[in-house]
Amino acid sequence: MSAPSVSALSRFRYQLAARDSRRKVKNVLFLSFLVFAAILAITPLIAVFIYALKQGFAGLSLDFFTQLPAPVGESGGGMANALVGTAVLLALGSGLGVPLGIAVGVFLSEFGTGRLASFTRFSVDVLTSVPSIIVGLFAYALIVVPMKHFSAMAGGVALSIVMIPIVARSTEEILKLVPVHVREAGLALGIPRWKMILRILLPGSAGGITTGVMLAVARAAGETAPLLFTAFSNQFWGRGIDQPIASLPVQIYTYAISPFEEWHQQAWTGAFVLIAFVLSLNLLTRLILRKRT
């Protein structure tokens, strides 16, 4: 073998090695970008949470959960009426939205082939993407104007519109996960379809449906825009569901745009309580789902 060919071979080998190391560098760069992306993505959550904790924790006290808001210039006071109000609004929203949402989910999953079903599915998808302020305007025109009253009921309706698509889609998806043979086994026993759905399908998926409901509640709990023109607000305890009622997000918003330091403090404490509530609902959902798998 002649010398030149050896040198050519080694040159080729060098080239290969160089290309390989380029590939390796590229690989390392890319993989570190992925790690960097993951860190970058969770930074805001940690930053938001720490800030709310720092600002809001100082105001946490028993009074915050048990007292009515104090007027300007007086120290103390709490947001008890807003906490109760949010609970009432969520109960009303769930009372209306959850049964309807589950029914629609069952319809889409079990009878989901016709034209009505595909149009319903389209409507549910669209409803999820309607900006919530528009939902508020709609509930205002639908209930407040004819009743001539801001009311907890109107707020509940607005929240239920926010919740329905979430409950419906999660119910549909969870029912679709139930194997066909479960349904067939039920039907083969001669049970009518409606009984099979109500007694076998729904109870069997209760856990999954509950998580969907909880996510919907968590979402509704943080909504401000749909309540501004429906539930309105109230600086006292509510007086029945046909009257205005306070809520946590609206109270935070009102306090945030006020000129007083002590009210800003209350707003941050409220924000902290709201985040804690919403995140723990989400956490609970996760735990339930994890347990099931």
Binding site: L40, P44, A117
Partner: protein, 340 residues
């Protein structure tokens, strides 16, 4: 849900013993009940559309479609056009996509391809929690933390190195288009990341293994085997993220600076379609003003329908097959995770 008669017959015959004719009648009733509920959902959507159109009609009949192009928004002279808001919505949303897409796709790849399952679970959970924080809280944080940071650090930095571009000229006040783009990027990242994760999970393991068996590096296997086989899924995820950005209200209102003007600089204040409604609907008392705001809402409503329908069509096509159910759920809330 069952009627009194059903209850009594059930008692008489036991749970599984109803006669066939009863069963048919029960099924029909049940089906009709469900149809009614479905119709109620459609009615809500129709009602929203009807209400918005009714309120929007004065300004639309006066100005026609030029309402959406005109940038004149002068409440004193009662002359209204939503052009500047459409611009603000588009630019802030695209800015958000520009910032969010690389991070979202990166985080999704990290979760599916790289991280050990325990870390993947934890970080995946944290990312999805981002979607759960209420918008008004992001707004507060934007005002008190993000905007000052832009004014003091990011703005001067960008002006120093990229100041030759018209995008980064003029004083950085903190609040403005850039702040809105950043906060939107944070808010849509969980949406896009969760969807992408599901798309990547749906890619058969064989794709990756084939690439690795041929001597590919990790990156090459991901690039050929995973990214290469899911471009339309990523597109669908991105468009759904865009849909979320377009409609976001409270947080944007709090940081965008609220000015109905088209400016080249990202430091300049702007206004989006959603934020102008939040800003002005409560205070507007002139009929034409209210009507103009409703027309803006109508446009926003129709745009989000088009965007979401398009994106879902793409996602459904990608997800056809056994994975369909999973993707459907995720394309909706981007925060439900179901593993059978």
């Amino acid at each position: 849900m069952s009627s009194a008669k059903e209850t009594s017959s059930r008692r008489a015959r036991g749970v599984f013993g109803s006669s066939r004719r009863d069963a048919h009648r029960g099924d029909r009733r049940f089906h009709w009940g469900l149809r009614l509920c479905a119709l109620a959902v459609i009615a809500i959507l129709g009602g929203i559309f009807f209400q918005l159109s009714k309120q929007a009609s004065p300004v639309l009949s006066k100005m026609g479609l030029s309402f959406f192009i005109s940038t004149e928004w002068d409440p004193v002279a009662e002359s209204f056009g939503a052009g500047a808001f459409a611009y603000g919505t588009l630019v802030s949303s695209f800015l958000a996509l520009l910032l969010s897409v690389p991070v979202s796709v990166g985080v999704a790849l990290f979760l599916t391809e790289l991280a050990p399952s325990r870390i993947s679970l934890a970080i995946g959970f944290l990312v999805e929690m981002l979607a759960a924080v209420p918008s008004v809280v992001y707004g507060l944080w934007g005002i008190f933390v993000l905007a000052p940071w832009i004014r003091v650090s990011l703005g001067p930095l960008l002006r120093k190195f990229l100041g030759f571009l018209p995008l980064f000229q003029g004083p950085a006040y903190g609040v403005g288009m850039l702040a809105a783009g950043l906060i939107l990027a944070i808010m849509i990242t969980p949406t896009i990341a969760s969807l992408c994760r599901e798309v990547f999970r749906a890619v058969p393991v064989a794709n990756r293994e084939a690439a690795l068996a041929l001597g590919a590096t990790r990156w090459e296997s991901i690039s050929w085997g995973v990214l290469g086989s899911s471009p339309s899924g990523i597109l669908g995820a991105v468009v759904l993220g865009l849909g979320r950005a377009l409609g976001e209200t409270m947080a944007v209102t709090m940081v965008i600076g609220n000015r109905a003007e088209i400016a080249a600089s990202l430091f300049a204040p702007a206004q989006t379609m959603a934020s102008v409604i939040a800003n002005e609907y409560a205070e507007a008392s002139a009929e034409m003003h209210l009507s103009a705001l409703a027309a803006t809402g109508l446009a926003l409503f129709l745009v989000s329908i088009v965007i979401n329908t398009g994106a879902r069509a793409v996602m459904r096509r990608v997800a056809s097959g056994p994975k369909r159910g999973k993707l459907g759920t995720l394309s909706k809330t981007a925060s439900i995770e179901v593993r059978p």
